[in-house]
């Protein structure tokens, strides 16, 4: 998968074939089910978790969301906003999209300090993703 190879160093721990590693890292990161996919930042800190199987498009949208969260955690606001928007634009019907829309607005606000961008995000939720927890969270910005 090109997105993964372009954005991550990738490691796999098999619960049986890599039993010692699974004991070490499964315990460290609290992995108690498979598949569990973690997206770690450059310091090894978990920034996103996917537990259980997902169809390809949902899986990719979650991976992209996690990569955006890494950029956000690193305070790379412009990069984070671009990545969150890419999730919304590429996978608008995915579960990841409303969360990405929310954090795109927060990233823009963080980059500029301008609360107008939070209000614009709340406005966007009036026409999209109504009823989601992310729309509710954004409603305070109205």
């Amino acid at each position: 998968m090109k997105f993964v190879n372009d954005n991550f160093a990738s490691a796999r721990v098999h619960v049986k074939d890599d039993a010692q590693l699974f004991q070490k890292y499964g315990e460290k990161y609290g992995a108690q089910w498979t598949p569990t996919i973690l997206e770690l930042d450059g310091e090894g800190v978990e920034r996103h978790r996917i537990e259980g199987f997902l169809p390809n498009e949902d899986f990719l949208s979650q991976l992209m969301l996690g990569r955006a969260q890494i950029a956000f955690a690193e305070q790379k606001w412009d990069d984070a906003e671009r990545r969150f928007e890419e999730v919304v634009n590429s996978f608008p019907t995915s579960d990841a999209a409303p969360e990405a829309l929310y954090w795109a607005g927060v990233s823009r606000y963080k980059a500029t300090g301008d609360a107008r961008f939070l209000k614009e995000t709340a406005e966007a939720f009036k026409t999209r993703y109504q009823g989601t927890s992310w729309a509710k969270k954004a409603s305070i910005w109205n």
């Binding site: 991550f8 990738s10 490691a11 796999r12 569990t36 996919i37 973690l38 770690l40 450059g42 090894g44």
Partner: protein, 32 residues
């Protein structure tokens, strides 16, 4: 395109830390 997974997790994490590169860590039970 397949994901290029490695199994030497210690090394992957160590290299990633030095390069400040994100890591995808997959816990799997699928047949290899």
């Amino acid at each position: 395109m397949e994901i290029r997974f490695r199994h030497d997790v210690d090394t992957v994490l160590d290299e990633a830390r030095k390069q400040h590169k994100p890591v995808l860590l997959d816990f799997s039970a699928a047949p290899m």
